[in-house]
């Protein structure tokens, strides 16, 4: 089974995302901010990171830059899932190495479509 790390400071969003990802047969883990996510990735890299942008301690964008800078590892697919929906911010995320971008609010149809885009289902 593929693994997904869900990174969001909202417990409710994490719960919704977990149910959706489990529906696509992913094993899920959760983190409340970018630093927690980075620690988990250093311990065991997931196949997919579903990533919020604005979080305490470390933002999603800073996490992405950090994870992309880790050498000699199989990089995860990183998919933002955020309310930051301006073109400039989306472009910033793509330039930093995001593979896909989900604009909240989201549902399982959108997640399915994005998972197809990145070849994870």
């Amino acid at each position: 089974m593929k693994s997904c790390l869900i990174v969001d400071d909202s417990k409710v969003v994490r719960m919704v995302a977990r149910k959706i990802m489990e529906g696509f047969d992913f094993v899920t883990n959760e983190a409340e901010d970018g630093q927690q996510a980075l620690d988990q990735c250093r311990a065991k890299m997931p196949d997919l990171v579903l990533l919020d942008w604005k979080m305490p301690v470390m933002s999603g964008l800073d996490f992405l830059k950090e994870v992309r800078a880790i050498p000699d590892i199989e990089q995860p697919v990183v998919m933002f899932c955020t309310t930051e929906n301006d073109v400039e911010q989306i472009q910033l995320a793509i330039d930093a190495g995001a593979n896909e971008y989900i604009m909240k609010p989201f549902d399982s149809e959108i997640v399915e479509s994005k998972l197809l885009q990145v070849g994870l289902i």
């Binding site: 301006d86 989306i90 793509i94 989900i102 989201f106 959108i110 479509s113």
Partner: protein, 287 residues
């Protein structure tokens, strides 16, 4: 809604659009007719159906039929047909174009336009001079065509099937909506067309026809008739793309499935059927 009214509406829909309602669609019919009922300020559904039974205005029939049509669609639906078009068919078409012939594509049953715009995006990402490819997009629903022509989509719609890089490349933000670029809009001619009607006004030299997730709503006879008519409209090297649940086998011997390309068909005969008066202008596209 009583069963007699339900079957009357089902027959009306079939007569005017060829679409077939299943046995278990009473709730769907009722909820969709409620919208028409409100628009026309009928007191209830029984009054609406009674009006339909006795010399109904054409606009009312059109509204009822439109309300029943399934219009759900999304960009690059099922992905693989569009990959096939991009990688296999389009390069050949563009090389024809260099010999002076503009490739012609048809999105038949285009709903709110995502399929046609997906094709336009592929063309613009493949060649610099996209104005030389002509795309006709037709649908029964005038409401859908109006939306398609506007090229404006919600945040939900642009997240179904569309890669984020394509969103950035081909759309710009207008408030909380997304507007497709003018260059892509210029490639497409949106026209009202009922697949039950005569195909005579359509061009006879389409290089590719996308009629995906449309035929499945018709009965067998209508599917066969539409497939034959499309075969007549394809160039000998043309391609027909059907939806994943749709097949031409057993309905016509004019089309043959391509190996290793699910849902892609080629015409088998070069013999062309009559195309009507030669001086009749072709629909939508410059002939």
């Amino acid at each position: 809604m009583n069963i007699k009214d339900y079957y009357f509406v089902a027959d009306l829909l079939h007569e005017h659009s060829g679409l077939v309602l299943g046995e278990d669609k009473a709730y769907l019919v009722q909820s969709r007719l409620a919208t028409v009922m409100r628009k026309w300020t009928f007191a209830d559904l029984e009054v609406l159906v009674a009006t339909l039974r006795h010399e109904p205005p054409e606009d009312l029939i059109a509204d009822v039929v439109e309300s029943m049509v399934t219009t759900d669609t999304f960009f690059f639906r099922d992905k693989s047909p569009f990959d096939h078009f991009r990688q296999v068919d389009l390069p050949g078409l563009l090389s024809q174009r260099q010999q002076g012939r503009a490739p012609r594509l048809w999105s038949a049953g285009c709903a709110s336009g995502q399929e046609a715009y997906s094709l336009a995006m592929i063309v613009s990402e493949t060649c610099a001079d996209e104005d030389k490819v002509e795309i006709l997009a037709t649908d029964l629903s005038r409401q859908c065509l109006a939306k398609a022509s506007s090229g404006i989509y919600t945040q939900f719609e642009v997240q179904r099937g569309l890669p984020i890089t394509s969103l950035l490349a081909h759309f710009h933000q207008v408030g909380d909506k997304w507007q497709i670029d003018e260059g892509l809009q210029r490639m497409i001619t949106f026209e009202h067309f009922n697949l039950l009607s005569s195909f005579e006004k359509l061009p006879t030299d389409f290089d590719a026809v996308f009629c995906r997730n449309v035929l499945k709503f018709f009965d067998r006879l209508t599917r066969a008739r539409i497939l034959e008519a499309i075969a007549d409209r394809l160039v000998p090297e043309g391609r027909l793309y059907l939806g994943h649940e749709e097949i031409a086998e057993g309905l016509t011997d004019r089309l043959v499935a391509l190996p290793n390309a699910h849902g892609v068909y080629a015409p088998v005969s070069e013999q062309r059927h009559s195309t009507g008066p030669a001086d009749q202008p072709a629909m939508g596209l410059a002939s």
